[in-house]
């Protein structure tokens, strides 16, 4: 067990625990806030692995934008302070979700645990920020660009839908 | 900037620049703040700060107390007999002021008491620093009111073109001619 191992295990535990809390809590806004902790801990994992650019972008995009958007949407609803019984799922749903989650966990564990044995101790490595940029705009440039076009199309479509509903298109978030 | 984004560039940017210029100009100029407790304020003439009492002039006529709109003046007095000064003369009675108090928690600074006083016993003083922590302590008695007499400014000079005061114009008039004998009345009386 190196220091990196401990750090990675700690970040991973926090990420997993807060993710569980995020889906089990009855407070809607608390769920979003636990999601922040979870995403932040995932960023911590990246950081331990030496992929600081990915970690920072994770924080910038997910915590800074996506969760803010989620919270904004929650504020538009009547999310009460305290447990919200209206949004809690029925026991059947809960059981199904638990089975599904357990299945996914088992699947991932089956794939990743043997891999972890091969890799051994946690190492700082990865291509680094420069290497990442070169890979992204060299090897993976076509998927990257295709993804950008997809997002752009989604953006334009969203604008069009908003414009249809309101009569005129305006770039409101 | 907003207006610029809207397209009416002419109204937006110059307006913002003017705003910046105005504040910068003010920054360069001296400030207007008067540092009150350190520097005495320059009060205008005839400031109504507090009402001072010249007790010697007061005859306890009660005019001020009666005219006061919110009844904030308290006067107590008693009559004293002044023995006759000449043999065979009559004893006189005069009012002696026992108490003169103004409750400045009620006073509304209308100045009617100062106006109606026929013997110039009440004056406006510009002194204003007599705040108290308890409202009951704003009831000021004769001696405190008398202390403020020292702060009463001399009466302001009259305006240049104003009419003379009544006393002065009366001096200038010729003395009244002696009364004509009342002939008619005398005759009537005889008849």
């Amino acid at each position: 067990m190196t220091g990196l191992d401990v750090a990675f295990a700690a970040a991973g535990t926090v990420a997993a625990a807060s993710a569980v809390l995020s889906v089990t809590t009855r407070h809607v806004v608390h769920a979003a806030l636990w999601l922040v902790v979870s995403l932040g801990a995932v960023a911590g994992c990246y950081l331990v692995l030496g992929a600081e650019f990915v970690a920072l972008v994770q924080v910038l995009i997910y915590v800074g934008a996506v969760v803010v958007l989620v919270l904004f949407a929650l504020m538009l609803t009547r999310a009460p302070i305290g447990p919200n019984e209206e949004v809690s799922a029925s026991p059947l749903h809960r059981a199904l979700a638990a089975v599904l989650a357990a299945g996914v966990t088992a699947l991932l564990a089956a794939v990743l645990v043997p891999l972890a044995r091969v890799v051994g101790a946690v190492r700082r490595g990865g291509p680094g920020t420069t290497g990442l940029g070169e890979q992204l705009f060299g090897t993976w440039v076509w998927p990257f660009e295709a993804l950008s076009v997809l997002l752009l199309a989604a953006l334009v479509a969203a604008l069009a839908v908003a414009g249809m509903a309101r009569g005129r298109g305006a770039g409101e978030p | 900037m907003t207006e610029a984004a809207k397209g009416s560039r002419a109204a937006g940017i110059p307006g913002l620049v003017r705003g910046l210029a105005a504040t910068a100009r003010t920054l360069a100029r001296p400030t207007h703040t008067s540092e009150y407790p350190d520097a005495p304020p320059s009060l205008p003439p005839r400031s109504r700060g507090v009402i001072a009492l010249l007790a010697e002039n007061c005859t306890s006529c009660m005019l001020c107390a009666r005219e006061c709109p919110d009844w904030c003046i308290y006067i107590d007095s008693h009559k004293e007999t002044v023995p006759a000064t000449t043999p065979g003369g009559r004893d006189r009675q005069r009012n002696v002021l026992d108490r003169f108090a103004i409750d400045f928690s009620l006073c509304m600074y209308c100045g009617i008491c100062v106006e109606v006083c026929p013997f110039d016993a009440l004056f406006w003083s510009p002194e204003f620093e007599y705040a108290e922590l308890d409202i009951r302590e704003l009831l000021h008695e004769r001696d405190r009111l008398g202390q403020w007499m020292a702060t009463v400014p001399p009466p302001p000079a009259l305006d240049e073109r104003s009419a003379d005061p009544a006393e002065v114009s009366a001096l200038g008039k010729p003395a009244r001619a002696p009364r004509a004998p009342r002939q008619a009345a005398a005759e009537e009386g005889q008849a």
Binding site: H27, V29, H30, L33, V36, G40, E52, F53, L56, V57, V59, L60, V63, G64, A65, V67, V68, L69, L71, F72, L74, M75, L76, A79, I81, G82, G128, T129, G171, E172, P173 | M1, T2, A4, A5, K6, L16, G19, L20, A22, T23, A24, T26, L27, R29, T31, H32, T33, E35
Partner: protein, 319 residues
Amino acid sequence: MSPAVEVLVRTVAVLAAFLVLPLLVGQTEHKVMAHMQGRLGPMYAGGFHGWAQLVADGVKFAQKEDVTPAAADRPVFRLAPAVGLVPYLVALAAVPLSPGLVGADAPASAVLVLAATAVGILGTLMAGWASANKYSLLGAMRAAAQLLSYELPLVLAVASVCLAAGSLSLTAIAGAWSPWWLLWQLPGAFVFLVAAVAELQRPPFDMPVADSELVFGAYTEYTGLRFAFFLLAEYAGIVLMSLLFAVLYLGGWKGPLSGDLGWLWTLLKGFVVSVLVIWMRVAWPRLREDQLQRLAWLGLVPLALLQLALTGVWVVATA
């Protein structure tokens, strides 16, 4: 110096800067704003021109009762000031004053600073939601809408500078800076300044805390030290954004005698920018909510994209 001691010294230095520089900016705001309005500002505390006014304010805040509303979501309510404040501390540690003088020299410090400020926004949202107060909630919603809109031009403007310097490290960016950038990156600098002021919710972009309609927005229910933390976060934000502007667009420590006094140049340039931020507050009225959004999406985002394209073309052409 052993690593542990060095870390300790760096932490203490960053913490000291974090506590002193915002007070300096706050005092400057007191005085500059007062004189711009023909007033004197604080004159008593500390003796000389009220220099200790903010220290006195801090003492006052520390003495006040720490009230948590009965209907509030207690843990979130109490945690929010920390979430609002700590990211700025982290971000300030990554801003270099001179090539050797930086709290923590991260290789991607430009992204680190942006990510940290993005997290700081969460504090406002948590405060607004957890206060159980309509004004707070409305303030937080306005803040969220505003910050979402202005995050994009801010990131794009910084991306342009990073592209021009070919690095994500603030130290390297300022190192690559040349006076020619003043013209070349001018649109980006404009976008950055406007978006930064909006991000800090400073006037003229203070719709989320518009006192005439929302009392004090998301911070309405806060008292005592927690409220002071939010105020400190605002002024730390001004310090951070001003220093960042100085490093990104004004060349940081470049200037005469930059070998010895580079850090002073950075601080000086940052101070000038923060005075500009204060000046904007005094001179301009508040923008309406729709004007805010219009400015961000129709004004700043296209301008930032244009700057990005310009930078890209120039970099490729001269490479």
